[in-house]
Amino acid sequence: MIGFLARKGLFRHRTRTLLAVLGVGISGALLLDMQMLSRGLQVSLQRVLRDIGYEVRVTPRGTLPFETEASFAGGHAIAAAIAADPRVERVAPVLGGTAYAARSGGSAQPVFIYGMDPPTETLWRITAGQSLDAATPAGAVLSVALARDLGIGLGDTLYVARGFSAALGMLETPRAYTVRGLADFRFDLRNQRSLAVLTREAQTVRGALERDELSMLVIALHDRATSDAVAVWIRDRFPQVEAYSVREMLDAVQGQLAYFNLFSLVLGGVSLVVCVLLVGTIITLSLGERIGEMAILRALGVRRRRIVGLVMVEGLLLVVLSLPVAFGAGRVIAFWLDGILRQAPSIPSDLHFFVLTARAAGRTLLLLFVAGALAGVYPAWLVSRLRIATTLHREVMG
């Protein structure tokens, strides 16, 4: 009975209901976007980290991975000590930092150089050619953007050096590499140009070989559940380094992204209030027009709580009808906004600001239903106080 009357009531003024549905839908879309934004970067980073496949990361004390160009000495010795732990499956040393690269006779480009040994090259995805090979130390993998900028391809020779003399217009003590492959580097920023060589080669280019300096160790475990414990063990055992499980790293990143949470909280709250006001206004206005009908229903013997329920259901039904609009428009707007935000120069290519998760969708649904219920409270209160005789008398006299 309630559902029947609510449905009939809403479709009585189709255009008005359609406009209300669109309004609530757009408001819901913004709410969904804010839910997607609030943890989007964290979820996106989590997906990338899971895809890369290491459970623990070791960095110089007080830093996050590649947050600075800081390094720690004795890297391979630490790696070997960690690899000896039975919980550890393998340890991959990584060095990262700035350098210069040029083709023969060409101008030099500032680049980011990765040193990482196969078969652990999960920081990039090969798009052409082959990845690094321990048997070919003079091989290099270039980002597609760098290869394009330098005008070189597979099999060409590339010169890489830590320094560049502007006065002489040439690289300082360059080393020559053959381009083995082209790749997308997962954490490249928008304007970043990258190349990868074997770890020892990178150390040689960066002048870090003597002190065996590394930027990071990535550690795969036999059992992912031990990652927090292994991170704690590493921090205790090697005070010069920091160790993060994936969870700890996401927590640390989330701490740095608190302003996204605040931003999404404020805008999400505003859209929720708009949604409540919109649905509440529609239902209240509609109730004002139909107050005589409500009195009639009461006179016919429809219980007071059923009339209250009818008003509440109408609010919720408006929300239900707006869900396709909310989720459809929300996805489109999120895609559009994500594209705009990812144009920023300091955003790694694999990361996204707006990520649709079951949690974001679930919270949006819950909040929209709460909004629908809240919106129905005032008109439901009005109808709960309805006096049948007075209302009918007023309707007849009116």
Partner: protein, 234 residues
């Protein structure tokens, strides 16, 4: 239509020294002053009197949509002062039917859907409900208009649908407030004839009217003035 109230059952409504006051613009209005009357199970009562004399208020009190300020009221022998709002609502749903001057049909529903409302609220099974609705629409001569909405019907047809809605659950008492007030003379006569037929079928009828011809068809006429019954003419 089968009567639901046997003559020996307690009367559907009995008022003893009933008063009804309400506040209007800061002043107390005495709408009913010491009204005493009984509506028997086979009554056809017309309440007449000038505007503002308390006719509709009395109808609302007798129909359990309003509560008296003072006095005793009994529905089917049960003391109304002990009844909760839910009890009165259940009473209206199961034992009373209402017809109003302005029909008050829900415009987005078809005639059949409007008529079905009391049965839906009572939780009648769909098959039984549909059969009863069609039977009642046939009874008021509108079986062929079941799928039409109020906006597609004349005033007389709408009032007949309203009467069907008031009868579909087979009430013991039908209360009608100016049922011909919005209709022309011919259509009003048709509605009056229908109400006579309802009464002849065993349902007690109480109506409020300014229409002398309609009142003349009732077996009993109550004349009201200033909130009092000044004449009870059987």
């Amino acid at each position: 239509m089968t009567p639901s109230t046997a003559p020996l059952l307690p009367p559907p409504a009995a008022a003893q020294d009933v008063a009804k006051d309400y506040r209007l613009d800061g002043e107390t209005v005495h709408a009913l002053r010491g009204v005493t009357m009984t509506v028997a199970g086979n009554d056809f009562v017309a309440i007449i009197g000038p505007s503002g004399c308390g006719k509709s208020t009395l109808l609302h009190v007798l129909g359990a949509v309003d509560v008296p300020t003072a006095g005793q009221l009994r529905f089917f022998g049960r003391d109304a002062t002990t009844m909760t709002d839910a009890d009165r609502t259940a009473l209206r749903l199961r034992a009373f039917g209402f017809v109003f001057q302005r029909f008050f049909l829900l415009p987005m529903l078809t005639a059949a859907e409007n008529v079905s409302l009391p049965l839906r609220e009572a939780g009648s099974p769909k098959r039984e409900r549909d059969a009863r609705v069609l039977e009642t629409l046939d009874y008021v001569g509108l079986g062929h208009r079941a799928r039409h909405k109020p906006g597609q019907m004349s005033g007389g047809e709408q009032q007949r649908v309203a009467i069907a809605r008031a009868l579909v659950h087979r009430p013991g008492l039908l209360l009608a407030d100016e049922p011909t007030g919005e209709l022309d003379e011919t259509t009003g006569n048709q509605i009056a004839a229908l109400l006579e037929r309802v009464h002849a079928g065993g349902t007690a009828v109480v109506l409020v009217t300014h229409n002398i011809d309609l009142a003349a068809r009732a077996g009993r006429r109550l004349t009201m003035r200033d909130g009092r019954i000044v004449e009870d003419h059987s």
